[in-house]
């Protein structure tokens, strides 16, 4: 379950974070030596929304937290941004313990380094699009001309130019969330929290917004904590995924790792039904190169799904190349076919997948 060591420095991390809802939760947790059992929690009438969570989020990555409703995702991300005070543990942002930061410094950090997008948009009804997007700059006391200039830039970035003067109630759900995104980007945050940003949208719009989101991320390269309960969404967007259940993080890994090596039955159940071609990369299924002839070259990180188009013309194996275009492996046509056509991931042992 340990993920590979990322080349990027850690931007945000947390260690042993607990969030327990209930009276005197801090005392209760300390009394139980930071390890209360289920029955102890129930007896005390406490709800453990996050249990002993530890994770590290490398700079420039999309880190997705996913789980079913009530699994504690929202609470987790609010602990990371300290919107909720964790009951125990530490949250390290650029190496600094957020939980020990003074309220004043916290305001400064939020003003300049954090942005957040909300499930139900949370737009201010009395402000126009322009006013909403400029709001985070306004509270910093930036003058009107500067902040509106900056707001217009981000509004253009999310494709809402021409609607600056509209009020939120005059916009569709998708447009409203674009405003939410623009607003959170206005301060050029270092870390970007998104709590189920697309859940309230129709499937079609949702897909469009995901593409938009990926496009933005290519340009901006933010460090992102993204919450979703939709596994499809997670594998489309994620660099790493953390799966939560009943407040516990049960596995952290790349989409591929989760599909190929689920840590528990629960994760396996979660990933079942996901076509493996969507998840597996060329690198994950390649064999050692045989120095023969190749039909097409594919990058090591391309998904097998993308090979489908070439398969008709390929009578020889695909060559897998790395960033420097050096051949590092090969994939036979049959292997690709098997994964593309074969049954979805019922049985994780079929296929010649190798661990990365």
């Amino acid at each position: 379950m340990a993920s590979e060591i990322s080349p990027h420095p850690v931007k945000l991390a947390c260690r042993g974070v607990w969030k327990i809802f209930g009276d005197n939760a801090t005392r209760f947790l300390a009394d139980k030596n930071n390890a209360p059992s289920d029955s102890e929690l129930i007896d005390a009438g406490m709800i453990a929304a996050v249990r002993d969570a530890t994770l590290e989020i490398p700079e420039g990555e999309i880190f997705i937290i996913m789980g079913l409703s009530g699994s504690g995702k929202s609470t987790m991300v609010r602990c990371l941004s300290r919107l909720i005070e964790p009951t125990a543990g530490e949250v390290l942002f650029e190496g600094q313990d957020l939980l020990k930061t003074s309220p004043k410094d916290m305001i400064e950090i939020r003003r300049h380094k954090m942005g957040m997008v909300f499930q139900h948009f949370a737009l201010l009804p009395h402000l126009t699009v322009l006013g909403n997007v400029a709001f985070p700059l306004e509270v910093q006391g930036i003058d009107k001309k500067t902040r509106e200039g900056r707001a217009l830039e981000v509004i253009e970035l999310v494709g809402l130019s021409g609607r600056e003067g509209y009020y939120p109630r005059e916009l569709s759900g998708g447009q409203q969330q674009r405003v939410g995104i623009a607003r959170s980007l206005a301060v050029e945050p270092d870390i970007w929290f998104l709590d189920e940003p697309f859940s309230a949208l129709d499937p079609l719009i949702r897909r469009e917004m995901q593409d938009e989101f990926l496009r933005l991320q290519q340009m901006l390269k933010k460090t992102i904590v993204f919450i979703t309960h939709d596994f499809d969404e997670a594998i489309r967007l994620a660099d790493h995924i953390a799966i939560m259940k009943d407040g516990e993080i049960i596995q952290i890994g790349t989409p591929e790792e989760l599909v190929m090596h689920p840590a528990t039955d629960y994760v396996a159940e979660f990933t079942r039904g996901i076509p493996r071609a969507k998840v597996l990369t060329a690198q994950a299924v390649m064999e050692a190169p045989t120095a023969g002839e190749y039909s097409v070259q594919v990058r090591f990180d391309s998904r097998l799904e993308e090979l489908g188009a070439n398969i008709l013309h390929a009578d020889k194996p695909f060559a897998v190349i790395d960033e420097n275009e050096a051949v590092i492996g090969q994939i036979s046509r049959d292997a690709v076919l098997e994964i593309l056509v074969g049954a979805p991931n019922d049985d994780a042992d079929t296929g010649n997948a190798g661990a990365s």
């Binding site: 919107l83 948009f121 201010l124 009395h126 709001f135 009020y167 109630r169």
Partner: protein, 667 residues
């Protein structure tokens, strides 16, 4: 109440223990009648046992006024400066609307600048109506104000309006400030909630007395009473509105790095604005109601005209002023509602010109300048010419005379029949009950419906009434209020049922109820006095008319709210429409109907105090006497008794309704 099951056919079933408890209680109660000789104290609370609370309060208020030194300044200086603070803007507005700006004192004063002309005022009201909604509202507003001018009510109406114009901003700002404090600090909330409860149940007359003493007779103390009266709903609405701001919006504010102040003023208050505006409408209407009543401590204006007419039994004049109040109320209500619900503007093309940006404001300003100018040359532009006044006063006097000549026997017969056969016997019965028994029953009901806390609470409140020596008058209040509520229920519930079943009638009754609810309580006194002169019966009718609206409204709403699948299921089961009504709709709607009755009780109690003006002998009279004698202790104690009766009824009915709703699986 919990269903009672007895053993049927020899099979023992569970019997509710409360059944036996009540049997025993009634047994004990009857027993008391045989002990009449042995325990007379149980029937008539001995004078010597009365706690002299009212004298303590009177002394306390006197001490506040004369002896209380806050160090830097005395209490008297404090009240003086509060008066001063309210007086300044009031004088300004009153000069502007009613009196004109004058220099000099008394009758030698010369007008340096005239008041707003009647034409300008009518047109500005129309403009406000158009701005807030549409031409229809504009026409309504203008018509109401035009009436005031034509029927010679302009001067009084403008005095009343000036009071409202000042009381509303004070009430709104004060209410929002206290609401914010209450929202922020649980401690403050814990203090203010019971105070708000009490302020909404203590009859208004009761706190007119201490205000009268602390601030003196005159428009300023009337204004202060008005502000105090109109503020509590705003405080509540503010706390509620702030609580309703979505958690995500608050989280956004924190993520944007708002300071506490930015959070309140830039995020929460603007988000809560739609709900806050509902509070604004309430403040306007309550202010109007109170400004009318406060004519008793010198508010002047339309209320004074009604009061004066009542005192001298000049029915015609009274009705004219009453109609003026009604129209003013309707205009203010519709306007303030339209402003509260005003559809927010959409995005707009940016315009530069000040006339284009603020057409209404600029138009009004232009109008004022023009009419001021014209008024110098044509007095009738400035003031509606007296020669063109119409009056309906003599007409109404004629109507009253005609009714009295032609229908005196019928009306009097009806009144006497009801008095002799229902009212007086019930009153006698209630007065004959030993207080020990009544307090015991109330406590028992509390125990049954809401557990020991409720039982102790209502028991203590009832005991308070006994020990301050207000038992007999309280029982008369209970009798009048009970009769009124019973009759209001008998009339209102069927109307509500019919409105629930018939959409056209529903729309019609909605308009009627809306209008009735905007009328200040004073207005209801005029027609009953016109028909029945003074006394318990006239009071009863006024109370019924005033308090019937919630019975209608809640019944209608409760029946409409019955889940449609239940109705479908009963139709499928072959119920006739009548069966559906009796067996499904009414039982399901009963908790809601009871809440309506609860509201009816509250309104009846507040009206009862006002009917003291037409001569009842209950707690209302006690308060009224206290007002005329400026005896704060007497007024407050009687006022508290009324409030406690209200709270007892309210808590018991609510507890029942909550229990019943839970049993029916509603909410």
């Amino acid at each position: 109440m919990t269903a009672l099951t007895l053993s049927i056919g020899g099979r023992e079933r569970q019997v509710n223990p409360w059944f036996f408890i009540w049997i025993a209680a009634i047994g004990i109660a009857v027993g008391f009648y045989f002990l009449r000789e042995a325990a007379p104290w149980a029937f008539k609370y001995p004078r010597g046992w009365i706690i002299p609370l009212r004298f303590w309060i009177t002394d306390f208020v006197k001490w506040l006024l004369n002896g209380f030194d806050l160090g830097l300044f005395t209490f008297k200086e404090l009240t003086r400066s509060i008066s001063w603070l309210v007086e300044q803007p009031y004088d300004m507005v009153r000069s502007l609307l009613a009196d004109g700006f004058k220099e000099g004192q008394g009758s030698d004063a010369i007008e340096v600048f005239p008041r707003v002309s009647w034409i300008a005022a009518v047109i500005i009201v129309a403009m406000m109506g158009h701005f807030a909604r549409d031409w229809k509202l504009a026409a309504l507003g203008a018509a109401c104000f035009f009436y005031l001018a034509v029927f010679g009510q302009w001067d009084s109406a403008m005095v009343t309006l000036s009071s409202i114009a000042i009381a509303v901003p004070f009430g709104v700002v004060g209410g929002i400030s206290l609401g914010i404090l209450g929202f922020r600090s649980p401690f403050f909330r814990a203090i203010i909630s019971p105070v708000l409860d009490l302020m909404q149940t203590v009859p208004v007359f009761a706190y007119l007395v201490p205000i009268l003493i602390l601030f003196g007779f005159g428009p300023v103390s009337a204004m202060i009473a008005t502000i105090i009266y109109a503020m509590p709903p705003m405080v509540r609405v503010t706390m509620l509105a702030l609580k309703q701001v979505p958690a995500e919006v608050i989280e956004f504010g924190r993520m944007a790095g708002c300071t506490t102040r930015q959070m309140m003023w830039k995020v929460m208050i603007p988000s809560a604005k739609p709900t806050l505006m509902v509070g604004f409408n309430q403040v306007v209407m309550l202010s109007l109601n109170m400004v009318i009543i406060a004519s008793m401590i010198g508010a002047g204006g339309l209320g004074f005209d009604v009061l004066n007419a009542l005192k001298r039994l000049r029915i015609g004049e009274g009705i004219e002023a009453g109609v003026a109040i009604t129209l003013l109320a309707i205009a203010l209500d519709r306007l303030s509602q339209a402003i509260a619900h005003k559809a927010q503007p959409g995005h707009e093309v940016i315009t530069r010109n000040i006339w284009q940006r603020h057409p209404y404001l600029m138009g009004a300003a232009g109008l004022l300048v023009v009419t001021w100018g014209l008024g110098v040359f044509f007095p009738s532009v400035q003031t509606y010419p007296e020669s063109l006044h119409l009056t309906t006063g003599t007409f109404w006097d004629g109507v009253v005379k005609w009714i009295n000549i032609n229908f005196f026997n019928q009306l009097d017969g009806m009144k006497n029949f009801l008095l002799l056969n229902a009212m007086i016997p019930i009153k006698r019965f209630l007065l004959s009950l030993p207080w020990v028994v009544v307090v015991g029953f109330v406590t028992l009901a509390g125990l049954q419906l809401g557990g020991w806390r409720l039982g102790v609470l209502v028991g203590l409140l009832a005991l308070f009434i006994v020990v301050v020596g207000q038992w007999p008058k309280s029982m008369i209040t209970v009798y009048l209020c009970g009769m009124a509520v019973f009759i209001a229920g008998c009339i209102g519930i069927p109307i509500g049922i019919y409105a629930a079943l018939n959409d056209r009638f529903h729309r019609f009754i909605q308009v009627v109820v809306d209008t009735l609810q905007t009328l200040p309580s004073f207005v209801y006194l005029m027609p009953v006095v016109m028909l029945f002169r003074v006394g318990d019966f006239a009071a009863l009718l006024a109370v019924i008319a005033y308090a019937i609206t919630p019975a209608i409204r809640y019944t209608d709403h409760g029946i409409r709210r019955v889940p449609p699948h239940l109705i479908e299921a009963s139709i499928a089961a072959g119920c006739t429409p009548l069966q559906i009504l009796w067996k499904v709709r009414l039982p399901m709607a009963l908790p809601e109907i009871m809440l309506g009755i609860n509201q009816t009780i509250m309104m009846a109690l507040s009206m009862l105090v006002i009917t003291a003006l037409v001569g009842t002998r209950d707690l209302g009279q006690e308060v009224y006497i206290a007002l005329t004698k400026a005896d704060s202790g007497r007024g407050l104690v009687a006022g508290l008794c009324v409030a406690f009766i209200a709270i007892i009824a309210d808590r018991l009915i609510n507890a029942w309704s909550v229990k019943r709703k839970a049993e029916l699986g509603l909410d």
